[in-house]
Subunit: 283 residues, 2 copies
């Protein structure tokens, strides 16, 4: 498995693979890989013949007070994991390679970026959609793989691809969880032992929600109260939001009538974690 750091080299490698008739899959990551990322590579292997994993901690999606500098970086471990899982090439550009001059061009998605994480991270999705546009234009994949863990990101990227007629397909893969239910995240590394023990309460709250919906509860305020009780079992957890939203528009839902995305964000100390499930009252 090769690693390249320049746009020119990744383009050459992809052009070669395309000329051999191969289907190109892209797994965009910020490194610090875990089983969630590896499941995206595994999913790519089922449809693609040449799998590019990009590793780039994109500065434009971090706010000024966020964790850009301390974001976990362990390139050699990432490399070994990609190789073992069956990626064909890693594209690991520098900041200078991706943003050689002041970036003046931004891709923004309106409305669906305003709720959930968009409320507290105002420029985050602009950074994500801009860097994904760049990566799609650089790698020119047939398919690109994203995790359901970042549910709003996946919905925003899918809408961007549709609106801009980008010539690729987005595949969204299920959340991979630790044995106690905690959703895999590179940021789990920040947690102290105590925080790590309590972090599974986010998932427990989502499971509680699922139970209530399957028992016929439709009122999101009632459900939220119970979910807050679950999170309240730990003093380490400061909930940021528990939201019930439409899966396409991401508008808030008062009463669950069919499918709904139930999304949680919470702080454990300085670490911000998110998780979500989709519930379906129509079943």
């Amino acid at each position: 498995m090769e690693t390249v750091t320049t746009i020119s080299d990744i383009r050459k490698a992809v052009a070669k693979a395309k000329s051999d008739g191969k289907t190109i899959g892209l797994v965009p990551t910020m490194g610090a890989l875990h089983a969630g990322h590896l499941s995206l590579i595994e999913a790519a292997k089922t449809k693609c013949d040449f799998i590019v994993v990009s590793i780039f901690v994109n500065p434009t999606q971090f706010g000024p007070t966020e964790d850009l500098d301390k974001y976990p970086r362990d390139f050699e471990t990432d490399q070994a994991m990609c190789k073992k899982t069956g990626a064909d090439i890693i594209f690991a550009p520098t900041d200078k390679e991706m943003y050689p001059i002041q970036n003046l061009t931004w891709v923004t998605v309106e409305k669906i970026t305003e709720n959930l994480c968009g409320k507290s991270r105002p420029q985050h999705f602009r950074g994500v959609t801009t860097v994904c546009t760049k990566l799609f234009n650089i790698v020119q994949p047939d398919l690109a793989y994203f995790g359901q863990k970042d549910a709003q990101q996946a919905i925003v990227i899918q809408r961007m691809v549709a609106d801009m007629n980008m010539p690729l397909e987005i595949v969204v893969c299920p959340i991979i969880r630790e044995p106690d239910g905690l959703a895999m995240s590179s940021r789990n590394k920040y947690l102290t032992n105590d925080q790590r023990t309590d972090a599974c309460l986010l998932y427990k709250a989502l499971i509680e929600c699922e139970k209530m919906v399957s028992n016929g509860q439709r009122n999101t305020n009632t459900i939220r109260t119970i979910m807050l009780d679950v999170l309240g079992r730990s003093k380490n957890i400061t909930p940021q939001y528990i939201s019930f939203v439409d899966c396409q528009t991401l508008k808030n839902i008062e009463v669950i009538e069919s499918k709904a995305l139930v999304a949680i964000a919470a702080n454990l100390g300085k670490t911000r974690l998110i998780d979500n499930i989709i519930v379906d009252a129509g079943i």
Copy 2:
């Protein structure tokens, strides 16, 4: 020469041409073709084997008080001109084909869209960059051709392509002029006979500027005053701006030290015309 109206059909035609090893050229237009557009097709013929002319009056680049509804449309004449000049295919989508659902995604270029036409047409360039992104993603050309007549547009598109790593080359072609110097424009059709006679004063003012610079004048305020005198020969002309700007940053220049873009916008009745030249004090 074929005409297609759907994204699916133009993609099929381009994919076929690419599989035959052809280089794809795109000439994006809003129709009402004139010799300026045809010069873009001619330029494309020198480097491309398969030339797509898109004809789409893009609603998102018109302001609410602008001329979207009365913008000249003459599809049969456009078709005949494309065929005669040697285009291979016309892509003429409907509004519904290009914007099937509410468009939430926008490509914006900061700073260089704020001066010149950006001042009076605040959302114009956002519409242009967004529709060009869509057209580039739909057609996937190797080269795309734009006219120097819309100098700011050409600079903005080039910057967008560079910033977003779009996999194509932008070619900017010289302004084509009527015998009296008036820059070719679809909007010239709006002019009354009197206005048409006076419209060449925009170019005469630019020529006057060129003379002054070659005679050593470097002060843009002095030059602007003389240029306003030229435009002032007609009561039909209401100047909107005469600007001297850097060719990359589009920032205003007080004293011309090397290359400068000299751009004019003026109203003749309700018709807004633009023109420009590049002067070089360094020669």
